[in-house]
C-alpha cells in the first residue's frame, strides 16, 4: 500500500512534468526560431527574391493581353534583389507587429509614399518606366495628357505596387493582420518568454514535489524525471520524424512559389529544430534512467551485503 501511495502521486506528477517539459521545449524552440531574423535567413537561403520575380513575370505577362502594357515595362525596373529586400522588410515589419516594436501595425508597399514612410528604397525606375510607357503611347496615339491621363498613369503605378506588395508579403502578414489574427498572435508571442520562465519554474516545483513524495529514496526522482524526459522526447520527436521523413510540407498546395517556399522552408526548419531538441531531451532522460539503474543496483548490492529493512521502491 505504501508503494501505491508513492507510485500513483509520482506517476501523476510525472504526467504533468512530461507535459511541462514538452511545452517548455516547444516554447524555447519557438522563441529561438520564430523571429524576423530567422525568417529572413530562410528567405535568403531559398532565393525567394528570384521566385517573387518569376511570379511577377508570370503575372504581368498574362496581363499583357488585357492591359496592353508589356511585362518588360515592369520587369526591367524591378530586380530579384530589390524584391527580396522588400520581402525582408515586410518580414521585419510583420514580426515588429508581433513583438510590439512596429506600432504602425501596417505592412504595405502599395503606393510609393508608403514605401518612403517605412524608409524603403523607392523604386523611381519603376514609376518612370510606367509613366514613360504611357507617355510614349499617348504621343503615338495623339492622346491628350489631361487629368484622366494622369489618373490612368497613377492607377497603373498604384496597381503595380499593389501586385508587388501582394507578392513580397511571403508570410502573408497583411492577410493575417486584416483578419485580426496578428492582434491575437501578438498576445501569444509576447507571452513566449514568460511561458518559458513559467515552464522552468513549474518543472522545478514538480521535481521538488517528486522529491517530497519519494523522500525515503530520493534517488528515485532520477527515474521519474528520466522517464518524463524520455516520454516528452518521444512525444515531441515522433511527429517531427514523420513530418520530415514523409516530406509532409512539400505536399502543401500553395500556388505562389515564394509563399510556398517561405512557409514550407520555415516549417521544415522549425520541425527539424524541435526534433533535435526533443532528441536531446530523450538522451538526457536515458542518461538519468541509466544513472538511476546504477545507483539502484549499487544500493541493492549493499542491501544484500548488510540486510536492512525491505527497500521501498518508488
Amino acid at each position: 500500500m505504501k508503494r501505491i501511495s508513492t507510485f500513483l502521486p509520482s506517476l501523476l506528477l510525472s504526467v504533468v512534468l512530461t507535459l511541462v517539459i514538452l511545452g517548455g521545449s516547444l516554447l524555447v524552440v519557438s522563441d529561438i526560431n520564430i523571429t524576423g531574423g530567422k525568417a529572413v535567413e530562410i528567405v535568403r537561403e531559398n532565393n525567394v527574391g528570384d521566385k517573387i520575380y518569376s511570379e511577377l513575370e508570370k503575372h504581368w505577362k498574362s496581363r499583357y493581353y488585357t492591359t496592353g502594357v508589356p511585362a518588360e515595362v515592369y520587369l526591367d525596373a524591378v530586380s530579384p534583389e530589390w524584391l527580396e529586400e522588400l520581402a525582408e522588410d515586410g518580414i521585419y515589419q510583420g514580426f515588429g507587429m508581433l513583438d510590439g516594436t512596429n506600432l504602425s501595425s501596417e505592412i504595405s508597399v502599395t503606393i510609393p509614399s508608403i514605401l518612403n514612410a517605412y524608409g524603403l528604397k523607392r523604386n523611381q525606375e519603376l514609376e518612370d518606366s510606367i509613366s514613360g510607357f504611357f507617355s510614349s503611347y499617348a504621343d503615338e496615339n495623339g492622346i491628350e495628357k489631361d487629368e484622366a491621363y494622369e489618373d490612368s498613369v497613377n492607377r497603373a503605378i498604384s496597381s503595380a505596387f499593389n501586385v508587388i506588395n501582394s507578392n513580397v508579403d511571403v508570410y502573408k502578414f497583411t492577410a493575417l493582420k486584416e483578419h485580426g489574427v496578428i492582434k491575437k498572435a501578438a498576445k501569444a508571442y509576447g507571452l513566449l518568454f514568460k511561458g518559458m520562465l513559467a515552464a522552468g519554474a513549474a518543472a522545478l516545483v514538480l521535481v521538488l514535489l517528486l522529491m517530497l513524495v519519494n523522500r525515503k529514496s530520493v534517488f528515485t526522482v532520477l527515474y521519474w524525471f528520466g522517464i518524463s524526459c524520455i516520454v516528452s522526447g518521444v512525444l515531441g520527436a515522433a511527429p517531427c520524424v514523420y513530418l520530415l521523413a514523409s516530406d509532409y510540407f512539400s505536399s502543401f498546395s500553395i500556388k505562389q512559389a515564394q509563399i510556398y517556399t517561405a512557409y514550407t522552408a520555415s516549417m521544415s526548419s522549425f520541425t527539424a529544430a524541435f526534433m533535435a531538441t526533443m532528441i536531446a531531451v530523450t538522451v538526457v532522460g536515458i542518461a538519468m534512467v541509466i544513472l538511476y539503474g546504477v545507483i539502484w543496483s549499487i544500493k541493492k548490492q549493499k542491501d544484500k551485503a548488510a540486510p536492512l529493512p525491505e527497500e521501498k521502491v518508488n
Partner: protein
C-alpha cells in the same frame, strides 16, 4: 519470494514509461483538437487571399476599404448610412466567440466569399431598419459561427457607425428555405453559413439571429483609427 519481488519491480520500472506515454498522449490529443481546428482556419484565411484589388476575368471589381477600428469622436443614435457599391468591403464583424474579425462585402458572389463574408444586397444595410443578412464560408470566416449562442455580443463596424447586436436565436434551415433571409419589421442581423459536412457541400444552413441593441452613428469625420 525475493526473486519474484525483484521481477515485479523490474516489470514496474519497464511498464511505467509506457503507461506515462499513453496518459500523456491522451492528454495531448484532447487538448490539441481545438487549437488544430483554429490553425486550420487561419491557414485557410491566409492562403485564400490573392491579389484582392485586381479586377478578375468576370469584371467584378473588389474594393478593400479600411474600416475604422476605434472611433473617438462624437456619436449619435441616428444618422445616415453610406451605401456601398457591389463588391466593396464596407464593414467588419467581430465577437469574442469568433477567432477572427470578419470583413463584410456588399453583394454576394463565389469570388467575394473567398475574400470575406458577404451581405446579400437585397437586405437592410446596418443602420437602416430591417434584416441585414450576412453569410460566409464555414471553413474560413464563419468557422466559429456555431459557437455563438444566445446573449453573445456581436459588433458590426462600418465607416459610418458601429452597431451592436445580441444573439437572440440559433437557427438551422435548408438552403432552399428563405424564411430567415426575408425582410423583417424589426432591426436584426442574420448570420449564416453551411453546416459542416465531411462528405462535401451541405444543404443545411446554420446561423444566428441577432437583435440590434445599440446604434452609434459617427458624427465627426476623421476621428477614427484604421
Amino acid at each position: 519470494m525475493s526473486k519474484k519481488k525483484g521481477k515485479n519491480y523490474a516489470f514496474l520500472h519497464i511498464a511505467t514509461p509506457f503507461v506515462l506515454l499513453l496518459l500523456c498522449a491522451a492528454v495531448i490529443i484532447f487538448v490539441s483538437v481545438k487549437p488544430a481546428d483554429k490553425l486550420k482556419v487561419y491557414v485557410n484565411l491566409a492562403f485564400m487571399d490573392g491579389l484582392k484589388t485586381d479586377m478578375d476575368d468576370t469584371g467584378l471589381v473588389i474594393r478593400d476599404n479600411e474600416i475604422i477600428e476605434e472611433y473617438t469622436g462624437e456619436t449619435s443614435d441616428t444618422g445616415e448610412v453610406i451605401r456601398p457599391q457591389f463588391g466593396e468591403l464596407f464593414g467588419m464583424i467581430s465577437s469574442d466567440k469568433l477567432s477572427t474579425d470578419v470583413p463584410v462585402y456588399w453583394g454576394s458572389t463565389s469570388e467575394l466569399l473567398e475574400h470575406g463574408a458577404c451581405q446579400f444586397f437585397g437586405s437592410a444595410i446596418p443602420g437602416t431598419s430591417g434584416n441585414a443578412v450576412v453569410s460566409a464560408h464555414v471553413d474560413t470566416y464563419f468557422a466559429d459561427l456555431e459557437k455563438l449562442s444566445e446573449g453573445d455580443i456581436v459588433s458590426f463596424k462600418t465607416n459610418y457607425g458601429e452597431f451592436t447586436y445580441t444573439v437572440s436565436e440559433q437557427i438551422s434551415f435548408r438552403s432552399s428555405e428563405n424564411k430567415y433571409v426575408k425582410p423583417t419589421e424589426d432591426d436584426r442581423l442574420t448570420l449564416y453559413t453551411c453546416k459542416r459536412d465531411i462528405l462535401g457541400a451541405s444543404d443545411e444552413r446554420i446561423g444566428v439571429i441577432c437583435t440590434l441593441t445599440e446604434s452609434r452613428f459617427y458624427t465627426t469625420a476623421g476621428e477614427g483609427e484604421e
